[in-house]
Symmetry: C2
Subunit: 430 residues, 2 copies
């Protein structure tokens, strides 16, 4: 049974806080192991990468076969049906079109005393994309990571994907081909992150590493941060559905199940003003789960981490939404636009009854890499801004430098940085 | 003696690579100590913070005196001279005016098939600003961190500053007052970062922690990343001056010294097309160093980490600049604007002979918190974007959902996520 709460209950605050604080991931203490792997890859390069890959992935690679050949990519991609290829192409084109609108513009201006100020944006030179192998191996994620990088103008995109027992997904390579990614290595785990961050003879280092992965990958990204940039540390996926009496219980139930089927701690929460809907959705989840081919993961996830919360008003619903700060927030209400301004913390908002979260996972055009585990309080979904960086521009004329000099020299003195002050005063004709 | 290189030398590539790879910071293995401190603060809250503060800072605080009172802030601030207050106010106003122009705008649109797509920006609720105590205690840094947060719309800004032996800088508290920061705790180190990230009875948790600090602070930020957002991990400061024959050797020397006086691994590099200027600058640095009141730090930094590189053309200079990816790049050349497009990786660019880097440290208006240690390859300086986050908006109509359904369901099938496909198909009237 999923958790059932009502915001009017006397113990609501405590139980809701417990729900927020609940850990949904087994925290693995892998930091030391990962530190050892990174040190090994830095020291022995390809030799370490090959050895660790063959050990952990039960693979049989050498430095010569670490990288997929163009022929291997083409052959794998050819095994994908025309329908799948067309669907991935549709997804690609829509993601590209939307992300084109995210490109930041340079802005340089001169202020009233003649100082030139501004921001100039440039692309990261080289990006590494981590793609998980095995069960959670998603071609859509290849597109969601590679397309914004391409749109940003990244010149080199290197992809890594582990091939446990030598197996790999044709759809992953097809998605890479559609996204124009041609540099693909059959490696994974902390060793892949280390190779991308520090480089080996076969794998030139990149400037930033993005993409989801298991606890080892997450720990490796945390440790190489600074040597390279990283995106977020991804946790289990989650959805919050806010529904009023206008919602269709079967549709809401389907969305809760879609999230729960990710497993690994994925969480589905319904907050509704309608107790009748709450009951109907609970029954529908049970009914639909029994019809789902692989129902065990979704059922376990729903029963362990799911929650249905009844509230007295949509105001309370949006207040709870801000405290949950969910990766995905669906507004299954009569007037979704009216709730948007009140929701301050959410990775993505899905408007109205005809926008299931899954459409955003694939072909909506927005990015499905979104902040999890309440990090929407401070983080954004992946986008073009993750693959560019801003350089400040500052330029003084003799007169504007003169106008600012006294204040600058005064602060330099307070900070006991005489050299700073002198670098200004030496330029003044006083 | 600083390093002298010429790009035409046969061993240049090797020696330049060595310069890039050179470590300028003693890497301290503090991860385990910091992990222990964070665990202690999470478990014992204020008690741990007080105990660690009294031990490490040789202070005498209790939970009741952790926070500066309004009277203490006012009294400290009153000890600052009117000149300093005016200079800090000038800096504040210029930083504010510039950062106002960085505020991102929401963009929501409807595409050709009727899908609503967009980005909405909201402020982080609560931010913690770490301000170092002791030697490198800079009021300008208070402004550079607090002002962008205020401009972004952050409602709560909590500042922490250690008070070794009970001492603190009046100018730091004056800068906080000018920036409107009133929640200030006399704590530092990993325990301050842990308190901000996880909260204690006295110190409510924040959503993001920014600001520079020592190796313990850096390690703590790395470890709490995910629980809260963090800004960059700051390394030693650095400047790259690109100069042609039009540069004034005394001015260039003053800028190299200003950077070197930060100590702690700070690095000053001159790249010039004019061998005569190279010699003149080297002589000027020696001459000016001997006139600097506290010359030992600057001299040691210049001799240990400084470099003068002569090149045959400004093209080679900008190419080296991109490989160095310096925090600060000064263009001490006749036509600085002409070089800007070629410089892809830099925290900030300073245009022309009358823009010493120090003006940007204080009153230029741009932010002085910039990416160090070659991280300008992938990171930006601090700005308003660091204190906001983007929520994606997606909305389908019945007809646009229908138009996209087949592609989405096809990808869901390839990814073996049947529940995803069903959440879409259940909404179709087919």
């Amino acid at each position: 049974m999923p958790l059932r709460l009502d915001s009017a209950d006397t113990d609501f605050e405590q139980r809701f806080s417990d729900l927020l604080a609940g850990k949904r991931e087994a925290s693995q203490e892998v930091g030391d192991v990962v530190a050892g792997i990174i040190a090994d890859v830095r020291k022995r390069g390809d030799e370490a990468v090959v050895e660790l890959t063959n050990r952990f992935d039960k693979a049989d690679v050498s430095a010569q076969t670490l990288r997929f050949t163009p022929e291997e990519i083409a052959a794998a991609s050819a095994r994908v049906t025309p329908e799948v290829r067309a669907a991935l192409q549709t997804a690609h084109d829509r993601i590209k079109a939307h992300h084109e609108k995210q490109k930041p513009v340079d802005h340089v201006y001169t202020d009233d005393i003649g100082v030139t100020l501004g921001s100039r944006w440039t692309a990261v030179d080289a990006v590494g994309i981590y793609v998980p192998g095995g069960l959670a191996s998603y071609p859509s994620s290849v597109l969601m990571n590679a397309v914004p990088a391409h749109v940003a103008g990244v010149k080199r995109i290197a992809m890594v994907v582990p091939t446990p027992n030598g197996h790999y997904s044709p759809a992953i390579l097809a998605a890479a081909e559609i996204a124009g990614v041609t540099e693909i290595y059959r490696i994974g785990g902390a060793q892949a992150v280390a190779a991308l961050a520090y480089g080996t003879a076969t794998i030139p280092r990149v400037d930033k590493v993005v993409g989801p992965g298991n606890a080892y990958v997450a720990a490796a990204k945390r440790q190489v941060f600074g040597q390279v940039g990283i995106d977020m540390i991804a946790g289990p996926s989650e959805v919050l559905v806010i529904a009023d009496g206008s919602a269709n219980p079967a549709w809401v139930a389907a969305d809760l199940i879609a999230q729960a089927e990710h497993g690994g701690g994925a969480q589905s929460i319904l907050v509704t003003t309608d107790p009748g809907l709450a009951d109907a959705v609970a029954a529908e989840v049970d009914r639909q789960l029994s019809l789902l081919p692989k129902q065990s993961i979704a059922r376990e996830g729903w029963e362990e981490f799911g929650a249905i919360i009844t509230v007295d008003s949509l105001d309370i619903a949006t207040e709870l939404a801000n405290r949950i700060a969910s990766e995905h927030v669906e507004l299954a209400v009569d007037d979704p636009q009216s709730l948007v301004p009140a929701i301050r913390h959410a990775g993505a908002i899905f408007l109205g009854h005809h926008t299931p979260e899954a459409i955003g996972d694939y072909v909506g055009g927005s990015n499905h890499v979104l902040p999890t585990a309440r990090s929407a309080r401070f983080a954004s979904g992946l986008g073009v801004l993750d693959f560019v960086k801003r350089t400040s521009i500052l330029g003084c004329t003799p007169s504007s430098l003169s106008a600012l000099a006294d204040a600058a020299v005064t602060i330099a003195e307070v900070e006991a940085l005489d050299g700073h002050g002198r670098s200004i005063s030496i330029r003044l004709n006083r």
